[in-house]
Structure formats: structure tokens, C-alpha cells
Amino acid sequence: MTAFRPAELWFGACLVLLAIGVAVEGSRVTAGFGYDTVGPRAFPYLIAAGLLASGTAIVAHAFSRGALTDKTGGRPLPVVAISAVLVAQVFLMVPLGWIPVSTVAFAVVAFAFGSRALLRNLLFGAVLAGVTFVLFNYGLGFRLPVGSVVEALL
């Protein structure tokens, strides 16, 4: 009886699709000229070939015999939560500024890991965000955002 490993099948299939994408995108690069016999397209094609080879090998392995070595499943919800935090930061960082965004992010991530002390985490997050803001902006000369919305209000 063949053991079917769906995760490996999906992963291998993704690699094959990626290989096709890389090859297509690589072909759109304007070609080289003059002495450059190899050109800028060669490397992407090589990468695509590597991805294709490993992808098909992994797909083949998904159908092979042998003991299942996949790790046991986990909980996708925390991953989604943390991803949402990071994506939100992309959009909210500039308008709202470093301190509020980072504080909320800290609390949400701690929540995703199972900590239910919401107020305490918000406090920790605020302190951490504040300290890093002061340290980086005034101590090291960086420019963490103050927040365009915050600036408009002040």
C-alpha cells in the first residue's frame, strides 16, 4: 500500500509552478548584448530548472512507499493572527506611527501565543515601543515614524 503524503504533493506542485513562473518572468528580461554571451536570462532559467527538478522529485516522493515522517499537524490560527499583524503594520505604520502600532502588535502576538494578560501585554508593548523609539530616534539617529495622523492631531 502506498502511503500518500498530501503535504509533499502540494509543496512539490508549488515548486513546479514556481519554476514555470520563474522561466516565464526570466524570458521577459531584456536580453544581453555584446560580449555577454550568457546574458541575464541564463541564471533564471537555471534556477527554474533546479526548482523543476526538485519539485518533481518531491512530488514523486509523495507517492512513494516508506514510513510517514511528516510532523504532526499544528494550529494555523496563531500563524494567521501573526501574519495579519505583520500585514497590518505595512499599512498602518506610516499613518499611525511606531509606538501605537508596535504596542498593539506586541499584545496581539503575545495573545496568539496564549498569553491572556491583555492589559499587561499592552503595557509591556508600550514600554518596549517607547524605549526603542527614543533609543533609535534620539540615540542612534534613525527615523522611526511618528505617524502622519498623530502629527496632524498634535
Binding site: 509543496f11 518572468e25 502588535a105 503575545a110
Partner: protein, 503 residues
């Protein structure tokens, strides 16, 4: 002897108060972050790179050297007290050291690890002092085809020697090469894989890749696999000093570990796992009390720790002399050099001797600082390790975002951090190794450049790689390293299949 005079000059550079301050900062932060579970030296260096942007390059690299060694020290503290090695090189220390800690001998484990690291680090740095210039002389014989072959060898070694699926190693490598190809092509400057996003023209920053793959990927994976039990930090009780017996049992493993670690660390085979495991096996074989292994034999901590630190020193030799990274951390350091517009290699020794020798000198100084810091400050590190997981990982993610944003004051980098973090997460779930990805990312543009330059010089003739003896030999070796383990595995599976069918 010009080496010694260059080194003396390096000490003069490293011992200025300004640079010494940065050395202290480097070793302290390196140890603190290296002690945190889940953050190994490569992530630490990548995370702390933004801190150094406003600092003079020499001071920045002195700080990096401190972080590099410091994170090794910190990692051993986490391994011994918390059984969570932050990186593969600390695995053996975790096995024996944690066993020692459970028997109430945690302080001795920490002491032997710290002193062994000091001995190995110092001896390793001495070896580095003399080996690096020798390698430089060797490097002057290498042209573009040889560099290409050497880098292919490095990647083949990292991909072929990992245990598990060769296909997954290749996939990891190709993903890294792909990430490295984003931006302008190295020879002609044409856009590739930028999808019209302006910020991608400069390529993806190494900090984003390293922090994304290691820190964010690890955070997502821990959240996914949900290990909620609070790890027990073992208290450091009883006498803090090593007994005479401890010393006599430790000093030979220290020396043997160093002898194993340095040369293997310098080889393109991906870092510290091999020498630490070899050291553990050797110590077990040579020990007079082999039954103690697994229950807290001090040799099992002394040897692997020394091997770990010596391999870190060893990895610096090809990095500085040839620009060839042999471990993920060395790859991140290489990228740091590139950020400053410096190219490690033979030219660096002549064009920036202050920087190179100052960095090597500060490795010596850093070792002393680390010994002084680690033994008395054990209590502080223990407190650090007691931070509960939710807040710890929330803090790590905060620093990761901080690091990514401050690179270019650009939220695109945070988005990339997330995407690459997802990739790192996926790789962990699928048990795909991560080191080939980082090496592929850092070496990809250089390999491509060497390939195209070689073919441009030979006017399109690919036999140039095989007609030159050095590059031919290196490429054959690379092929052996890639296919050898694969063939061995196929051969060992064939009789097993036969048994299955007949049984």
C-alpha cells in the same frame, strides 16, 4: 614578520576607547541575544546590523566580531540551562550540559563551556591570524573560473551533506538563488523579478532574508506547533567553581575540540554541526567514564563547546581571505561587508588593513571580555531566559519589524519580511533545510557574476572551467559531494528493498 606587525597595528586600532566601547557593546548584546532561544548567531548579526549603520565601518565590524563570538557563548547558556540550543552547533552542549544542570552541576557546565570557548576562541583566532594571509596568497592564484568553481563547491557541500532529502536541499538552494536574483543583474544592471516595484531595484536586503527566515519563520512555527508548556529554567545552585577534577577532565577536550573545529569550520561544509558531533563522539570514545555520557559528563560539554567556537574562528579565514562564506553567519557577515561597499578577499587586506586586522585583534579582546562577562553575569542571563514565551516571541517580532523598517524607512521591507517569514515557516513545516537558502541568497549574485565573467573572458567557451586544473578539480569535488550521499543512500536502500520483497 609582517603578519605580527600587522596584528600589532590591529591591536592599536582595536584598543582605542571608541572601538573598545563598541567591542563591549557587541559582546554584551551578542551574548544576550544569543542566549534567547530560537535566535542563533546569524539572526543576531542580521538583526543588529541596522544598529551599526551610523557607525564607522571599522567600529561596526569590531562590534560584529563581538556579536559573532558573543552569540556562541550565549547559545551555550541557553542550551545548558534551558535545553533549547539556539543553533545546531549547540546541540551536543544541550545534551550533556542540561544533564549536568539537572544533577545540580549547572555552574560547572557553564564554567567549562565558557573557559573552553575562551581557549578555543583564542587558539582559533591565533590560527586565523596566520592562516588568513596564507589563504590570501592562495587566492591570488584564483581567477573568475576558479572562484566560480569554489562557490559551486561551497553550495554543493552545504546542499549535499545535509541529512534528509537531497531534493529538499536543492529546492532550498534554488529558492535562495531566486531571492538573490531579485533586482539588477550583476553584470549588465538589467532589472529582474522586480514586478515594477521600485524598492526591489536594489534587491532584497540580507537582514530581511535572514531575520525573515530565521526569526519570523521560527516564531510562526513555534506558534503553529503550539509548545505551550513553560520551559523550566534550571537554577544554578551550589558551588560556582570547577573542581580540580573538572579542570583535569576538561583541558584535553578543549584542545581536541579546537583542533577539530578550526579546520572543519574553514571548509565549505556549512558550519558547526560536523565538528561538534565529531568532538562529542571522540570524547565519548576517549573518556575513562563513557557510561557517564548522556547523564552529564563534563567532557561532553568541554569538547563540543570548544569545537563550536573554533569552527566560528575557522569560518572567518575563507570569509576574509577569499570572500567565501562557509556558514550562514559568515554569509550574513559577508553581506554586511557588501553593505559598506567592501569586498572581502585578498584586496581587502591591502586596501583596508586597519579594518581587517582591527577586527581580528578585537576577536582576541572580545574573547577576554566574554570570559570576564559570562562567569559573573550568569545570574543575569538566567533571568533573561525566564521571560515567558509569549512575551519573548512578541519582543522578537517587535525587533524584527524594527530591524526591517529601519533599513530603508520603508514599509515594503516589512511586507517582504512577512513573505519571507512565511517561506521560512513553510520550510520548517516541510522539513526543508534553511542554510542552503541563505547561502544561495548571498552567493547567488557572486556566482552568476563569476560565471558570466568567465564565459565572457573565454568568449563563450564553457570548457574554460575544465581546462583550468584548479577549477576542474573543484567542480569534480562538488559533483562528488552532491551525488555521493545520494548514491550511498540508493545503494543502502536496494538491499533493504530486496529484504522487504522476500520477507
Amino acid at each position: 614578520m609582517e603578519t605580527l606587525s600587522a596584528l600589532a597595528n590591529g591591536f592599536a586600532v582595536a584598543a582605542t576607547p571608541y572601538n573598545l566601547l563598541w567591542a563591549v557593546v557587541g559582546v554584551t548584546i551578542g551574548t544576550a541575544i544569543g542566549a534567547l532561544p530560537g535566535l542563533g548567531p546569524s539572526t543576531t548579526v542580521a538583526l543588529l546590523m541596522p544598529l551599526t549603520y551610523n557607525v564607522h565601518p571599522t567600529a561596526a565590524f569590531i562590534m560584529f566580531a563581538g556579536i559573532y563570538y558573543g552569540s556562541q557563548y550565549g547559545g551555550s547558556t541557553a542550551s545548558i540551562l534551558l535545553n533549547t540550543p539556539g543553533e545546531p552547533g549547540a546541540m551536543m552542549t544541550a545534551v550533556e550540559g542540561n544533564a549536568m544542570a539537572r544533577r545540580g552541576r549547572g555552574a560547572q557546565a557553564l564554567a567549562t563551556a565558557a573557559i573552553g570557548s575562551f581557549v578555543a576562541g583564542t587558539l582559533g583566532t591565533i590560527a586565523l591570524t596566520f592562516v588568513a594571509p596564507l589563504m590570501v596568497r592562495l587566492a591570488l592564484m584564483l581567477g573568475a573560473p576558479e572562484y566560480f568553481a569554489l562557490m559551486v563547491l561551497a553550495l554543493a557541500a552545504a546542499t549535499g551533506i545535509i541529512s534528509g532529502s537531497a531534493a529538499k536541499g536543492l529546492a532550498s538552494l534554488c529558492l535562495g538563488l531566486l531571492l538573490g536574483a531579485v533586482g539588477l543583474d550583476p553584470q549588465n544592471g538589467q532589472e529582474r523579478f522586480t514586478f515594477g516595484i521600485l524598492e526591489l531595484l536594489d534587491g532584497i536586503d540580507v537582514t530581511v532574508v535572514a531575520v525573515g527566515l530565521f526569526a519570523v519563520g521560527e516564531t510562526l512555527y513555534v506558534a503553529y506547533s503550539g509548545a505551550h508548556l513553560q520551559d523550566q529554567v534550571l537554577a544554578v545552585r551550589g558551588s560556582l567553581w570547577m573542581s580540580r577534577e573538572d579542570w583535569s577532565r576538561s583541558w584535553r577536550p578543549w584542545l581536541r575540540g579546537t583542533a577539530l573545529g578550526f579546520p572543519i569550520g574553514a571548509l565549505p561544509a556549512g558550519g558547526a554541526e560536523v565538528p561538534t558531533m565529531l568532538s562529542y563522539a571522540a570524547e565519548k570514545r576517549l573518556c575513562r567514564h563513557p557510561d557517564e555520557f548522556g547523564r552529564g559528563a563534563i567532557e561532553g560539554v568541554a569538547g563540543p563547546e570548544a569545537a563550536n567556537n573554533a569552527s566560528a574562528a575557522g569560518a572567518l579565514a575563507p570569509l576574509l581571505a577569499l570572500g567565501l562564506p562557509t556558514s550562514a553567519t559568515a554569509a550574513v557577515l559577508l553581506a554586511a561587508f557588501q553593505q559598506y561597499g567592501l569586498r572581502p578577499g585578498p584586496l581587502l587586506f591591502t586596501s583596508n588593513p586597519d579594518l581587517v586586522w582591527g577586527m581580528i585583534a578585537s576577536l582576541y579582546i572580545g574573547n577576554i571580555l566574554l570570559l570576564v562577562l559570562n562567569l559573573p553575569l550568569v545570574g543575569v542571563w538566567v533571568k533573561l531566559l525566564s521571560v515567558p514565551k509569549p512575551q519573548l516571541y512578541a519582543g522578537i517580532l517587535c525587533f524584527a519589524t524594527l530591524g526591517a523598517y529601519t533599513l530603508n524607512n520603508n514599509v515594503v521591507d516589512i511586507g517582504l519580511l512577512w513573505l519571507i517569514g512565511l517561506l521560512g515557516f513553510g520550510m520548517r513545516v516541510m522539513q526543508v533545510p534553511i542554510v542552503p537558502c541563505v547561502l544561495g541568497f548571498v552567493l547567488g549574485p557572486a556566482i552568476e557574476l563569476m560565471l558570466r565573467r568567465s564565459l565572457a573572458i573565454s568568449q563563450g567557451d564553457p570548457s574554460v572551467f575544465f581546462t583550468r586544473p584548479i577549477s576542474c578539480a573543484l567542480l569534480i569535488l562538488a559533483l562528488v559531494l552532491l551525488c555521493g550521499p545520494l548514491l550511498l543512500r540508493l545503494r543502502s536502500r536496494a538491499p533493504a528493498d530486496a529484504v522487504e520483497r522476500s520477507g
